[in-house]
Amino acid sequence: MFGVLYAAPGSEPATLVDIAREFSPRIEPYGPLEIAIDLSGLTRLFGTADEIGHELRRTAADRGVRVRVAIAGTCTAARLIVRHRVGVTVIEPGTEADTVAPLPIALLAAIASNGSNVLNVPNVLNVPNVPNDSNDFVVTLRRWGLRTLGEFAALAPDDVAARLGQEGIAWQRIACGQDAQPLVPAVVEEPFEQALDLEWPIDGLEPLSFVLGRLLEPLSARLERRDRGAAVLHIRLRLVKTDSVKRDGATRAVHERSLQLPAPMRDARTLRTLALLDLESHPPDAAIDRVVVAIDPTPGRVLQFSLLTRPLPSPEQLSTLMARLNALMGEGRCGSPMDVDSWQPGAFAMKPFAPRDCDSHPIPVEPMTAATRPVVALRRFRFPVPARVRVEDGRPVRVTTDRPGSSGGRVQTGAGPWRTSGEWWSEAGAAWNRDEWDVALSDGATYRLFRERAGGATAARWGAHDADRWFVEGIVD
C-alpha cells in the first residue's frame, strides 16, 4: 500500500520529507512538492487506510503544510489521483485502473519524472537529436481523440507498440495505474560530523591535536565504510572568552575554519596534519571548550596508475607538503608559476601546484639534441634596486647602488636604450614607462638597468615623485 503527499506551492521540501519519515523510513521524493511513502505495516499502528490518510494530513497541518493525500495499492495510481482530487482519497486495492480511468490524459505529462529517473517518452515528433518532450506526447494522444487515461488504456497494446514503441506500452501501463518500477527509497544522508565538549578549556595546538585525532578516527572509518572521501574539512572551535560568555552560553564566539582539499582523502592522520597546519597559520585567540569536526563527503576516486609514467607523490603527500610550505613561507608563496597576457617586464601569476593534472595533458617529450643549449636568464630583483647613474652623452657610464654585494662600478659595455611602456590605461600603480639598458660593469657582472620615465609607477612606489629615476632590475646570469 502506498501513500502520496502533494503539498501546496510554497511548502518547504525538507518539512515534507520530515513528515513522511515520521511514518515510514521508505520514502521517495518526486520533486519539491510530492513524496511517496511505503505504508506497508502501518495499519497495525494507525488503523485503516482512511485513518492513515487523515493522520498524514493532520501531521502536515500541525507543521503548517497543506497537503493532499492519496492512498492506493500502487504508487502510480496514488500519484495520478492526488493531482486530481483534494483532501484524502483512498483507492481500494484492485480498483486502481477503474479509479484513474476518468482522469484527464494531461496528468501523464505531470508525472513524467519518476523520482530519480525520468521516464522515457516516446519520440512522437520523429525529429532526430531532439529530446522527447512529455507535453508533445500528450498533444499527440489528444490529436488521436484520447481525452482520458481510460481511453488510452483501452487501446490495443499491439497498436500502441506499433505507433509508439515499447515506451508507449510502458505509458499505457501507467495510464492503468500500474507502477513502472518499484519504489526506490531515498537514503538518509548521514552527516559526517563529530563533536566533543571538553571538561575544561584547552589552549594551544598540542592538546588540540589529540582531540582532533580522536574525532577524525571514527569519521575516517565511516568514510571508508561508505567509500567516500573528504572534499572539505570543517573545524569549529567554541572559544572561551570571559567578556562574551552569557549565562545560557547561546552567544559564544566560534572560530571556524574550512579546508578545501585538493583530492578526496580519508586518512585520519593526513586530515589531522592539514587541520593543524591550517590552525597554525590561523590560530584561535582564546581557549577552546568544544570541538566540532565536520566533513563534506564525496565519492572516492578510482586511480589507475601507469607502469609507463614516473610515479608522482600521492595526493595526501602533496597536500601535506603544500600545507607545510604555506605555513612556513606564507600563503600564496608556493605553487606553479603561470605566464600572463601582459607585456609588463617580469609579469607572472601563481597557481596551485597540481602535477596530476599534467598527466591528462602530457607534453610531447622531445629528445634533447645537441642543438639545444641554455638561454641567458635574468635574476630578477622583485623590488627594483634604486641606482645612482652618471650619464654622459645620454648613456650611463657609472652605476652605483646601496645593495650589499653589488656596489656597482664603471660601465664597460652597454646596450640600449629600449623603450617600453604599458598599462597607462589602468588604475594608478600599474603603469610603466621606461628605457632599458644592459650594462656590463667593472665588478664583473652584467645588469639589466632601466630609467623610469614620466608616467611610470616604479619611482612613485619608492617615494620619488619626479621621474628620471634609475633602477637595477636584475642580473644577467
Binding site: P311, P337, P345, T372, R379, T446
Partner: protein, 253 residues
C-alpha cells in the same frame, strides 16, 4: 708531531679533493645505469658527466654573478620537466624570472616554485637588522628544502643560494647538508645547490664551477645588444671519476 700528522692528512684530502665532501654508506650506482643520472639538457655537459647529474646525490653549481648559473639551472629544470618529472625550486630571495623560465623550456605545470622573501632595499636598516632578516630568510629556505626532499617524488630539487653572502652560508651547520644527503640517498631525486662558491656536495655528487664571458653583437653604440654568455664549466666529482672542463654557450632569446 700531531700537528704535522694532521697537516699531512689535510694535504692528502685536498689533493684528492675530498676536503669538502660528505660521506655515504651506500655503494654508488653503476655509472652506466641511465636511471642513475638526470640529464642536464646540454649534450656537451652530459657527455662529460656520463649521462647527467647523479640521482640521490647532492651536487652544486658555483660561480660569481653573470657566470651562467641561472641559465644552467633553468636548462636542467627544463630537461627534468620535459622528461615528465616534477621539479622544485627553493628560491631563497625570490629571484626567478618567469619569462626566462619559459624561454628555457620549463614546463611550468611541473615546477613547484617556493618563493622566499625578496628583501627590499627599504628593509635595509642597520647592518645587524639586515643580517638577522637575511638569516631568517635563509633558515626558512633550508627548512623548505628539507620539507620538499622528505615528501619525495621530485626528479630535481634545487635551492638558489646564489645571492646569499658566503659568510652567511658558512654559518650554517655542516650537518645541514649531511641531513640533506641522508634524505635523498637511494632516491631518484637529484639535489642541486646554486651557490656563490663551492659549499657542500656529497661524495657521489659533483661541483660545477662556472666562469663566463659576456659577448655583445653590433659595433655601434645604438645597435649593440647582448648576444650570448660563453660559459666555461669546470667539473669535479672524485667518486665518479669525472673531471674536466666544458664550454657551453647560452644564447639570448
Amino acid at each position: 708531531m700531531a700537528n704535522h700528522a694532521v697537516a699531512i692528512i689535510e694535504s692528502a684530502l685536498r689533493e684528492r679533493k675530498l676536503d669538502r665532501t660528505l660521506t655515504t654508506a651506500l655503494p654508488p650506482l653503476e655509472r652506466t645505469d641511465p636511471s642513475a643520472v638526470a640529464g642536464t639538457g646540454t649534450a656537451a655537459l652530459d657527455a662529460v658527466l656520463h649521462g647527467g647529474l647523479p640521482r640521490g646525490q647532492l651536487s652544486e653549481i658555483a660561480g660569481a654573478p653573470s657566470t651562467g648559473r641561472t641559465a644552467l639551472l633553468l636548462q636542467m629544470m627544463a630537461a627534468a620537466t620535459r622528461r615528465g618529472e616534477i621539479a622544485a625550486l627553493i628560491d631563497t630571495f625570490d629571484r626567478l624570472d618567469v619569462p626566462s623560465a619559459i624561454a628555457a623550456g620549463i614546463d611550468l605545470d611541473r615546477l613547484l616554485w617556493v618563493r622566499g622573501d625578496a628583501i627590499a632595499q627599504t628593509d635595509a636598516g642597520h647592518a645587524g637588522a639586515v643580517r638577522d632578516l637575511r638569516d631568517r630568510v635563509l633558515d626558512r629556505a633550508v627548512k623548505a628544502l628539507n620539507l620538499v626532499l622528505q615528501a619525495g617524488g621530485f626528479g630535481l630539487v634545487a635551492i638558489d643560494l646564489a645571492d646569499v653572502p658566503a659568510i652567511a652560508l658558512k654559518r650554517l651547520p655542516f650537518t645541514t647538508w649531511l641531513r640533506v644527503q641522508r634524505t635523498i640517498e637511494g632516491s631518484d631525486t637529484a639535489c642541486v645547490l646554486v651557490v656563490p662558491e663551492p659549499l657542500a656536495r656529497s661524495a657521489g655528487g659533483l661541483t660545477c664551477t662556472l666562469a663566463a664571458r659576456t659577448s655583445w653583437a653590433g659595433t655601434a653604440d645604438r645597435s649593440r645588444r647582448l648576444d650570448r654568455l660563453d660559459i666555461t664549466t669546470r667539473i669535479v666529482s672524485p667518486r665518479r671519476r669525472v673531471e674536466g672542463e666544458v664550454a657551453i654557450v647560452a644564447a639570448v632569446v
